[in-house]
């Protein structure tokens, strides 16, 4: 049996769509993917639904044009939505129930799991996911499987991930206009963490940083469960904006400077040419140059600040010293030069790039870490909807 799933990310800089195939007995495989430059999105918020609809139509067209070996056309009717942005909040929540007998039974566990679904959100918030962390029994905590244990009060610690309903509905509206139905919205960084961490890293403690265009998400795994996550409204677009402001360049020029020339760490003096010609200068004007040191300073200050915010949040939650497997960088911003060195310095932990390890089909992609969230979303789809095909494949039916 073959199941097909699709996931889409309406990012600040890129709109990414990927389709994966799950065959019985084999690993999930991305069979098609396409990414185009986004418009109408800023800081992960949709500002122009019409432009986003056009982006979705373009990416659908692009993916349909990328024919695989076995199919002539692919009609994508629905896709899982990968969401990010500072409107997403993650709240710890503990539910508790009285144990019916003297020992915990499956029924008690079901009861406490049901109780944790009862968390009431304001009407403008929508639940994205509820993560079960650990159980507690009376004064004892950190229990992974309470069945059969003796006690009076059973607790379940959870993380409730929720987002702004209006922001998510805007995405649904834009997709609907492009005849694409959006299925469950999924939090980008928790998807990315799922895709790039192995079980051992999840047990030993790891921090995943998903550096997007409009926001940066972080997720901490410890003891095998998601211990904390958050999204901060600072992303790669801020770096470009800072460069544009510092050097009075266009956004396109600052993007190019960021991607091709800048470094997150300050290089020693004389390590590279001291001045960089401004890309895309008019041939009618004298070529402008910018100081490499100044450029790196702008980028370094922004990223150091971002990392220090995340570091403080982890310290406040007593999690920083538990990250024995280090830091994993994902997202489009992860490819920035020197980012790993800066992260290593700021967190005092080993750092690696996070390429999706549980999904095949990305070997041709130059920066697979930017597909981590999408890959995680496809894994979620496969895990939860294994017996329910989500797409219709029409092999040349309408040709």
């Amino acid at each position: 049996m073959t199941n097909i799933y699709a996931a889409i990310e309406l990012g600040t800089t890129q709109t990414v769509l990927a389709v994966a195939e799950a065959k019985t007995g084999s690993r999930l495989k991305i069979i098609r993917h396409a990414e185009i430059n986004s418009s109408g999105v800023r800081k992960s918020q949709i500002l122009n639904i019409h432009q986003v609809t056009q982006s979705i139509k373009s990416v659908l067209k692009a993916i349909e044009q990328k024919r695989g070996k076995d199919d002539d056309s692919l009609n994508i009717g629905n896709a899982f939505l990968v969401v990010s942005g500072q409107h997403i909040k993650v709240d710890p929540y503990c539910s508790s129930v009285q144990v019916e007998g003297s020992k915990v039974t499956n029924r008690d566990i079901e009861e406490v799991e049901r109780a944790c679904q009862m968390m009431i959100l304001p009407k403008e918030r929508e639940t994205l996911d509820i993560i079960y962390q650990t159980y507690g029994l009376d004064a004892l905590g950190g229990i992974s499987s309470p069945k059969g244990m003796s006690g009076r009060m059973l607790r379940l610690n959870t993380l409730h991930i929720h987002g702004d309903t209006n922001r998510i509905n805007d995405a649904r509206t834009a997709a609907g206009e492009a005849n694409l139905e959006l299925r469950d919205p999924l939090f980008a960084v928790s998807c990315a963490a799922d895709a790039v961490l192995n079980d051992s890293e999840k047990r030993n403690g790891a921090l995943v940083l998903d550096l997007g265009g409009g926001s940066t998400g972080y997720a901490v795994y410890f003891d095998g469960y998601l211990a904390a996550a958050n999204a901060i409204g600072i992303g790669g677009d801020h770096i470009s904006s800072d460069i544009a402001y510092a050097f009075q360049t266009t956004h396109a020029q600052s993007e190019e400077l960021k991607k091709k020339e800048s470094s997150a760490v300050l290089l020693p003096a004389g390590a590279a040419s001291a001045r960089i010609p401004l890309p895309g200068s008019s041939p009618l004007m004298e070529t402008r140059t910018v100081s490499r040191r100044a450029l790196d300073t702008v980028v370094n200050l922004r990223l150091k600040e971002l990392f220090s915010i995340i570091r403080r949040e982890l310290e406040d939650q007593d999690l920083l010293h538990r990250l024995h497997s280090g830091v994993v960088l994902t997202g489009g911003g992860a490819a920035l030069k020197g980012l790993d060195a800066l992260a290593q310095k700021e967190f005092g932990l080993p750092v690696r790039l996070g390429r999706p390890i549980h999904v095949d089909g990305l070997s041709d992609v130059p920066n697979p870490e930017s597909f981590a969230a999408i890959a995680g979303a496809l894994m979620f789809a496969h895990r939860n909807y294994e017996c329910k095909p989500l797409l219709s494949i029409f092999k040349g039916l309408f040709k």
């Binding site: 709240d91 508790s96 009431i120 901060i232 800072d242 910018v290 702008v298 200050l301 600040e305």
Partner: protein
């Protein structure tokens, strides 16, 4: 028609119960309030009392253990449900440094949030002479309370005393100061004057207000407006070194003799003293029976909030609506929001992170 108040006052812990009880007495009327503690001795006459974690702690207190207090509050959280009928806003008073004040407040806030009731917390931080352990315990819980509450006003007790105070006076003054602040805040909500601040508006303000500080002043005489500004500007409770101000909430309470020019003087003076760029909300109370010949003001400064009216307008000191001067985000603080001019700002510790870091830190680039 007997209207039920949409606001509930909750006193948490020993000191919180004392303050809430004091506020109730000061208000002189029956107000919706509930006291709760892990220690049964905090129960007061004529006040509803919830014993937290009765089964767990048998009413003997948490012994300074924040974790026990949290569990106790978790055990008893549903006891609050029947007090919350029709409640739109909860005002919580407490004292941090012991067990129940911090631990139970946190759990109560979470429970309120699950029920869709926002809370504003007024909390005292311990005197320095109470020792590093209590200070540490209080510090550890403040950020969590701040996050759970939306708006949290922390008052450092050291700022309330002078060296001549004895222990009893210091404690009494601490309770009185907090109680008077909460009482005035309560009056603003319950007895609005010509410039009113209703519960829904306060809900909106506190939803993102973050950490705050407050002071009150009571003055009389022909120069009372200027005296009020002077006293507020010099109040150690509002010291500028405590953090940047993003949002100002000013309440002016007086009798029927309150003049428009006095409102203008105080509002302008406060904005000059604490930041013209901060968003500003004003409310007045005209209550001749309580404030005859006297003028009181309560001033709250918040570090993270952007108290913006629904229509993008603010109420001016003279009561007229006018276009907010800082409606264009580019005019807020340093320049450089650039592409992020019209999107929701990223505010962290009162700083607008959409502005380039180098610009906020005044770093001059050798371009």
């Amino acid at each position: 028609m007997n209207q039920v108040s949409p606001i509930l006052l909750i006193g948490v812990g020993g000191a919180g119960c004392a303050i809430a009880h004091g506020v109730n007495r000061a208000f002189g009327e029956s107000m919706r309030h509930v006291l709760c503690d892990t220690d049964a001795v905090s129960a007061r006459e004529n006040s509803r009392f919830i014993l937290l974690g009765g089964d767990r702690l048998s009413g003997h207190g948490s012994g300074g253990d924040v974790a026990q207090a949290r569990l106790a509050a978790e055990d008893s959280k549903h006891a609050f449900d029947e007090c919350l009928d029709g409640v739109r806003l909860a005002v919580i008073v407490t004292s941090l440094g012991g067990g129940t004040g911090g631990g139970a407040t946190l759990e109560i806030l979470k429970h309120l949030r699950q029920l869709g009731v926002p809370g504003i917390v007024f909390a005292t931080l311990p005197f320095s002479f109470e020792g590093e352990e209590r200070a540490c315990r209080a510090r550890g819980i403040t950020s969590m309370i701040e996050e759970a509450a939306g708006a949290a006003i922390f008052t450092q007790l050291d700022n309330l005393i002078d060296n001549t105070d004895n222990m009893a006076e210091a404690m009494r003054r601490a309770v009185d100061t907090l109680a008077s602040g909460v009482t005035l805040f309560w009056r603003i909500l319950q007895k609005p004057g010509y410039i009113r601040l209703d519960t829904e508006r306060v809900k909106k303000i506190i939803a993102t207000a973050g950490r705050g500080r407050f002071a009150t002043v009571s003055v009389q005489g022909p120069t009372r407006a200027g005296d009020a500004v002077d006293a507020l500007s010099r109040s150690p409770l509002l010291a500028a070194n405590q953090g940047p101000v993003r949002s100002i909430l000013l309440g002016i309470l007086a009798g029927d003799d309150l003049r428009l020019s006095e409102i203008g003087t105080i509002a302008d003076g406060v904005r000059d003293a604490f930041g013209r760029q901060a968003s500003f909300d004003l409310a007045t109370v005209n209550d001749e029976s309580t404030f005859s010949g006297r003028l009181s003001a309560v001033l709250m400064l918040f570090e993270a909030g952007r108290a913006q009216a629904d229509d993008g307008e603010a109420v001016s000191a003279t009561g007229q609506k006018r276009r907010r001067r800082d409606a264009n985000p580019l005019s807020q603080g340093p320049k450089g929001r650039g592409r992020f001019t019209n999107v929701e700002p990223t505010i962290y510790n009162g700083e607008d992170l959409d502005v380039p870091t180098f610009s906020r830190r005044n770093i001059i680039l050798d371009i």
